[in-house]
């Protein structure tokens, strides 16, 4: 029919098809479209006529080339699964079939292909089919992630709206209306009704509907009330599908259209008081898990609003710690504010028990509470009239001294510490606890919270110094984090005092092992725990809001070191440095300014700085991130996508973002030396990256086999323990100048030696 291509064309056909396939799938809007498109493209690539995507139970999800209800499908599926390549299809004649699983295991979906005629599938066609199945699986998972991200984003937006209402203490009816509107939108229903218990039973307190009529139809409200009653009786999420009491006729509206409904319980302080119900068009189908989850979430919001309203009333009287009977933080702050308002000097003594956690953990909470009561009693007995003692929860106590001097406060603290340290008899156990005390003072104009925080900071300093001591607050301590104790506080201290170090892992050419760049990696050597794994402290830093500051420090250190490398390397630009950027940093409006300032301060050529961003970060706030990336490119900074393949891996985004480097996730590199899967996919990524003029960097390179497979796949740059472990900045210079030696010896020039010595200092 046509002339055969030369050998190169024939070889490149499979890879070319995979790249095309990946590009097409990544452009699809959702999973269903991607599946349909995938089956069509598979047929086009293999010149086959009938294609199917089968569920694990062999139900066809997608059928191309014939109808879903074609009676010939069953024998076709049977033949393909039995491995009978040649089979006869009624009306179409002889054909060849093949099938391949999308994933691993018996629960994976399968692609089935049938080609009319007597021409067997060639080995490279079967290989291509496997590659396509794998790419389809990947693309669909990515689309699921994106859909989930979008859905989560929508839920969060609605929740934020409801929560703003609760926090702002808007009238309850307004909060209820917000909830029903949100539920309507998120569950995709036509009616959302909130039923709450009053003296006469469940009553409708809020209704939102899509219909243009002001009042929803009576039959819909009746259906909602039935479901609400059922939910109230059973105290669990119910839908019409699972309710025997509702007749089928009740599922059909007056307009003749079938409806389904679902309700979730609403509670007040744990007790059920109503139900949030949605009504949707449909017949017999259950609500999806995501819809159920959304409804539960909004019902919980109503519960929070109700409980909060009750609690608000109760809170006016609840100013005492229930364990010790001492004033709690609320009352203490109130009194502190009053004291500060008098214009006299006020002292706060902040006391934290040492080793209390050990007591709680080993002897139980009952013993712990007993100890707290005894401590409270003893401290109170130590104080004089007018001195206020409070317990803040946990093992923290505070004392307020009005109109006192520093010396008086110090003496008071010493009395407290001394009293505290005497043994306690709890049950049959004799317990000794110590305490760490911080003292701070303030006067008129100082916010109560600031004074309290200063005392807290001083206490933290006392604790860090070994405990059982009193330390007065000084301004320089402001930098010392003394917030909650534990790793977070210690990390905060370490970050704020630049207690972390930065190491650099070379990114090298796979062929010549020359340094391409070095990735800056933060390391934390805890004074007592030793090295803390990066995954652990990065997570804590994210949670504690320290990541921006940490990122800024790493950026500065990385840039200053890279600038120093440039001075040592005698020819050409110095090695580039690669720095990870967190999602929070990207959202920080000051990030661009930070980068500019750091580049100016360190005098690093912007082209030597590579910022690594993960895929999920990119898609989470597309427009803003794109804008930022374009600005970064304008100032000459290069951008890399980190961990490519683990997130959304959208090719359309790749095209959109001004990214120059694509780092292939280690999970792909791990399998690359395996027979087909790794290399086929990595090859496709590499070709695509090259098509987009991007450099690919393989992460996690650990064996020579992987290096060879990567080179075959067209990937020239890698990073991993095989190539080089993370090292100090000074060693990067050694690596850069003498890549072949790899040893400890330094190259000869005196300028080089001097520079390395400088770096080592």
């Amino acid at each position: 029919m046509t002339l055969m291509l030369n050998a190169r064309a024939d070889q490149s056909w499979g890879t070319s098809q995979l790249v095309e396939f990946l590009a097409v799938l990544s452009g699809q809007s959702d999973e269903a479209a991607a599946s349909r498109s995938a089956v069509e493209r598979v047929l086009e690539s293999l010149d086959a006529e009938i294609g199917m995507l089968l569920e694990p139970d062999l139900t066809p999800m997608v059928v191309v080339g014939t109808n879903r209800d074609d009676k010939r499908l069953c024998p076709l599926i049977r033949a393909a699964l039995a491995g009978e390549s040649a089979t006869e299809i009624e009306g179409l004649g002889e054909c060849r079939t093949t099938t391949v699983a999308l994933g691993v295991g018996v629960n994976s979906q399968r692609l089935l292909v049938a080609r009319l005629g007597t021409e067997d599938f060639l080995p490279q066609e079967l290989l291509l089919l496997r590659g396509m199945a794998w790419v389809l699986d990947l693309a669909r998972r990515q689309l699921q992630v994106l859909t989930a991200l979008n859905e989560r984003q929508r839920v969060l937006e609605h929740l934020a709206r409801v929560q703003r209402g609760i926090v702002a203490r808007v009238p309850l009816p307004e909060v209820f209306d917000t909830v029903t509107e949100s539920a309507l939108s998120l569950v995709g229903s036509e009616l959302a009704v909130l039923h709450l218990l009053d003296r006469d039973g469940l009553a409708v307190v809020s209704v939102s509907g899509r219909a243009t009529e002001i009042r929803p139809p009576a039959w819909a409200l009746r259906m909602s009330a039935d479901v609400a009653e059922e939910v109230y009786q059973r105290d669990e999420l119910m839908s019409t599908g699972g309710m025997s009491g509702i007749r089928r006729a009740d599922h059909v509206g007056d307009d003749g259209v079938a409806r389904i409904a679902m309700g979730a319980p609403v509670r007040e302080n744990g007790a059920i008081v109503g139900s949030l119900v949605v009504v949707s068009p449909g017949d017999g189908h259950a609500f999806a898990e995501a819809q159920q989850q959304a409804l539960r979430t909004f019902a919980d919001q109503v519960s929070v609003a109700l409980s909060d309203a009750k609690a608000q009333l109760a809170a006016q009287h609840a100013v005492r710690d229930p364990v010790t009977g001492l004033p709690n933080r609320v009352l203490f702050l109130d009194q502190l504010e009053s004291a500060l308002g008098t214009g006299r000097t006020v002292h706060v003594i902040f006391l934290d028990l040492d080793r209390f956690k050990h007591v709680n953990d080993t002897l139980g909470h009952a013993v712990g509470d007993d100890l707290l009561r005894k401590v409270g009693r003893r401290l109170r007995e130590t104080l004089r009239g007018g001195e206020v003692l409070a317990r803040f929860g946990g093992d923290e106590y505070a004392v307020l001294l009005e109109n006192s001097t520093d010396a008086n406060a110090r003496r008071c603290a010493e009395r407290l510490l001394s009293a505290l340290q005497s043994p306690y008899l709890v049950g049959t156990d004799q317990i000794v606890v110590g305490g760490s005390i911080g003292v701070a003072s303030g006067g008129q104009g100082m916010p109560a919270s600031d004074l309290l925080r200063n005392a807290d900071t001083a206490m933290y300093q006392a604790k860090r110094s070994g405990g059982a001591r009193i330390i007065a607050f000084e301004e320089r301590m402001r930098a010392v984090a003394a917030h909650t104790g534990g790793i977070e506080s210690e990390l905060r201290w370490a970050v704020e005092n630049e207690g972390l170090r930065v190491v650099f892992q070379p990114i090298v050419g796979l062929r010549d092992r020359r340094l391409y760049a070095a990735e800056a990696l933060a390391r934390w050597d805890h004074p007592t725990r030793g090295p803390v794994p990066p995954t652990e402290f990065i997570r804590v830093a994210e949670e504690a809001g320290l990541i921006t500051q940490l990122g800024r420090q790493v950026l500065y250190t990385a840039c200053s070191q890279a600038a120093a490398w440039s001075e040592v390397v005698e020819e050409g630009p110095g090695p580039s440095v690669s720095v990870n950027v967190s999602a929070r940093q990207l959202r920080d409006p000051g990030f661009l300014t930070d980068v500019r300032r750091v580049l100016a301060d360190t005098r690093l050529d912007p082209a030597q700085l590579i910022l690594e961003v993960t895929e999920s970060t990119m898609v989470s706030d597309l427009d803003a991130v794109l804008e930022l990336m374009l600005r970064l490119r304008e100032i000459g900074v290069r951008l890399a996508i980190d961990d490519f393949g683990t997130g959304y891996s959208s090719l359309s985004y790749l095209r959109m973002f001004p990214v120059e480097i694509l780092k292939i996730d280690r999970s792909f590199v791990e399998g690359i030396a395996a027979p087909w899967q790794g290399s086929a996919f990595v090859q496709a990524i590499v070709r695509l990256a090259h098509a987009l003029s991007m450099t690919t960097v393989a992460e996690g390179v650990e064996t020579e086999d992987q290096v060879n497979a990567l080179l075959d796949a067209g990937c020239d740059v890698g990073q991993g323990y095989l190539l080089a472990r993370p090292m100090a900045s000074a060693d990067i210079v050694t690596y850069a100048v003498a890549p072949a030696t790899r040893g400890p010896g330094l190259p000869g020039s005196s300028r080089f030696r001097a520079a390395v010595s400088e770096l080592r200092r």
């Binding site: 046509t2 291509l5 024939d10 070319s16 590009a23 097409v24 109808n67």
Partner: protein
Amino acid sequence: MSDDGKRWVRVGHSATAGERSAAAEAAATALGGPDPKLLVVFAPSGYSPHDIAESINDVVSGVPVIGCSATGHLGSGGRPDVGVVVVGFGGDFDVDVACGTDFNARPREVGAEVAAALYPLPERANHLVLMLTDNLAGDQQEMVRGAYSVLGASVPLIGGVAGYGVIHSPSWLLYQGRVLQDAVVAARLSSDQPIGISVKHGWHVEGEGMIATASVLNQVYTLDDRPALDVFLARHEAPAGIENDPDAFEVFALGRPLAIARRGEIAVRHVQQADPRTRSLICAAAVPKGAAVWLATTDLESTLDATDAACREALDSLGDVPPKALLIFDCAGRRPVLRGGGLHQEWQRMREHAGDLPIAGFYGNGEIARLRGTNGFHNQTFVACALG
């Protein structure tokens, strides 16, 4: 004419002055058999489609009519290129027709809608769907995908994209007395006798392959990261500045298509226009990003060999069943290769294979033929369909 008393195909051709008279004459000839079922009209794009539609409407009385403009057309009396050709199908053919509009905005949906309108299929052994589409409309391959999603593997699809003439004038389609643009018109022919279809092009690749490093649908921006237009002009040693003269470029590109790899073979992509602003090439069918791309070349002999092979294969596949007619969908893009007597030679080759059989067809701007696989849209290709 071919008539065994059950099914017949007649080809009417008239070059009488004035399209009204020519259309009426050709239609009258095509309607010469008993129980006419369908008329298919081909005429130069410069003719008035409204005059042709009205004229045929006056003659036919209730017989479905579809048709399209052509860049040259074929009729039994020879390769006329002038006048009007009308093909009549009658007797034991089961026929239905359909059309869809708004093609450019929703090619896939239109393809599926038109195919669906040809259902249900009658209880006959074989079915054939003939689709004629508008050259002004968009993604033809996507339209074919839509049609295939309904027709499936059981129903072969043939046809072509309306031509806009040697001297450009807007292409058009005819459907039941109406003149359409941005549309698809289609006819289903069902019978108990076999249908033979063959698709050949005769092009081969030249020089080193490249990768389409940036492309969106039919527009190729870069090949191996270099502006596609510059690569195309340099590799073909084109006259300087030709990309700035649309007419000159079109003529130049007509015999210089691109080829993309398809399962060890090549598919041809006609280069329609240059975009000097973006230094890109606009092709007649999609060139997917990442596709391996070559320059394609051919010569008179290869082109005629393809014609030969397609006619032979289509007729041979009927087996012992005597053919009724040979329908041809040829490409306007092959005509430059066939210039200087080649067109006549091509006609002779067809005639040699067909003998006394009626032959009808047209030169269009893209060919539709889905016989095997699902790739149903072609460029610079020759499609032969033998009706048993």
